[in-house]
């Protein structure tokens, strides 16, 4: 029988849960095999146990095919990433939830893996986590094949103008809304262009882009709820 063994695959742990008395089921996001689940037998006492935590670059080895893959070992993969702190802990939940809901099991996405790794680093390095999250969303959609159009009108092909307002139609793009009677949910051309250049400056721009991305992300989530988003909203209520 062909029992396959994968050695030292770059990976992140997304989630783990108890399985039986002393084992765990570990959901990981790997560079070359996408999202997979492993059974970690006797992990409570294993030498690798202190590596079982999210947000750290790891090398994971496993064996077995199909749905029953057995974890063999976990090692550190280079330097550890400093722990997320404060509100950034909620960002960690958020990007993990997006990866879980928007990628399929066993679908290899080396480029999304890179994006995930860089996003974690940026989260720990940069103060403004909102910007990091918006760019993560933008590139994630891109790599999933749902890239946004931010530089030209999807109907006319004309370049986006800074002072014109647009209506963003999902799976189509921004459309000149000068003749719209409804003025809700319109976005200023300048903000689309800023987002295209990764230059999110100012509260108004951030708010507009956040609202836009929320609508688009929700569309691709197809009714799935993001618990991390609910948690953050609850947190904002009690912490103020």
């Amino acid at each position: 029988m062909n029992s396959s063994i994968i050695n030292q695959e770059p990976a992140f742990i997304l989630h783990h849960r108890k399985y039986r008395e002393s084992s765990q089921i570990i959901d990981i996001f790997t560079m070359n095999f996408g999202r997979i689940s492993l059974i970690a037998k006797g992990s409570k006492k294993a030498s690798y146990r202190h590596f079982i935590q999210p947000y750290q670059p790891l090398l994971i080895s496993w064996s077995g095919r199909g749905d029953l893959k057995i974890l063999r070992d976990i090692e550190a993969n280079g330097h550890s990433i400093p722990n997320l702190q404060g509100e950034k802990l909620f960002c960690g939940y958020y990007i993990n939830e997006l990866i879980i809901h928007l990628t399929h099991q066993y679908d290899p996405h080396p480029d999304i893996f890179k994006l995930y790794q860089n996003t974690l680093k940026h989260l720990t390095e940069l103060d403004d986590f909102q910007v990091v999250l918006r760019l993560f969303e933008k590139y994630l959609l891109n790599l999933l094949g749902f890239g946004l159009i931010l530089t030209h009108d999807a109907d006319t092909g004309l370049a986006i103008e800074s002072n014109t307002y647009y209506r963003y139609e999902i799976e189509h793009g921004p459309v000149n809304a000068s003749n719209d009677t409804l003025v809700t949910e319109l976005i200023k051309g300048a903000y689309l262009l800023a987002f295209a250049n990764n230059e999110l400056d100012g509260v108004e721009c951030m708010t507009a882009i956040k609202r836009l991305m929320r609508k688009i992300i929700d569309y691709y989530l197809d009714g799935k709820k993001l618990n991390s988003r609910i948690l953050y909203a609850q947190f904002k209520k009690v912490s103020s």
Partner: protein, 197 residues
């Protein structure tokens, strides 16, 4: 199916942690063959426990009475509130005999992916304690890992407006522990948090 009650019994045994199909069968046969009295007692006690053990309305630990014996104990210090994940953690700390404050049992920690949020962990009730009781110090007695950090952060922010002091368990070299075998994080922490000798 040949013998459905026997099969039901074996299946029922499997709900115990660490008991697989083989052990379940072994336990079922043992009880029927050698220890029917013990089995009867177990069935009765299980039933009693399921019917009568609920959660303490004040600290959420398991309790047969509306409030548990710790919450009812007036000799204990109301100003110190120790936060733990499970009732088993309460028993562990109690067995040391070194804590005389009160507890609050979350029954888990924040884990959005599992659908565990503030509502599931009783944060409302906890905030009621901040408001109405004289809590001066909140002690986090959690397992030390990144996954409980959001819970610590959330509750700390919640406690801010009540001017409550926040502490957490010390981390360092275990008694009888060999420095050679300590992981780097723990050792670094132990060096930073060293105490007067």
């Amino acid at each position: 199916m040949k013998n459905s009650i026997l099969q039901d019994l074996i299946n029922a045994m499997k709900c115990m942690p660490g008991v697989g199909p083989k052990s379940a069968q072994r336990i079922a046969y043992h009880l029927l063959q050698r220890d029917r009295d013990g089995a009867r007692k177990m069935a009765y006690t299980l039933n009693e426990a399921i019917e009568k053990i609920g959660h303490c309305v004040s600290c959420r630990t398991f309790s047969e009475t509306e409030k548990c014996f710790i919450c009812l104990d007036e000799t204990r210090n109301n100003q110190q509130l120790c936060l733990v994940e499970t009732p088993a953690n309460v028993m562990s700390i109690e067995s040391t005999g070194s804590f005389k404050g009160k507890y609050f049992v979350l029954m888990g920690y924040l884990s959005p992916i599992d659908g565990v949020g503030p509502d599931e962990l009783g944060f409302d009730l906890l905030e009621q304690h901040f408001k109405t009781q004289q809590v001066r110090e909140l002690i986090f007695a959690f397992s030390s890992n990144i996954e409980t950090e959001a819970t610590v952060f959330y509750i700390s922010e919640m406690a801010k407006k009540y001017a409550i002091k926040i502490t957490r368990l010390a981390q360092g070299v275990p008694i009888g522990g060999d420095i050679e075998y300590l992981d780097g994080h723990t050792l670094a922490h132990a060096i930073n948090q060293r105490s007067n000798a």
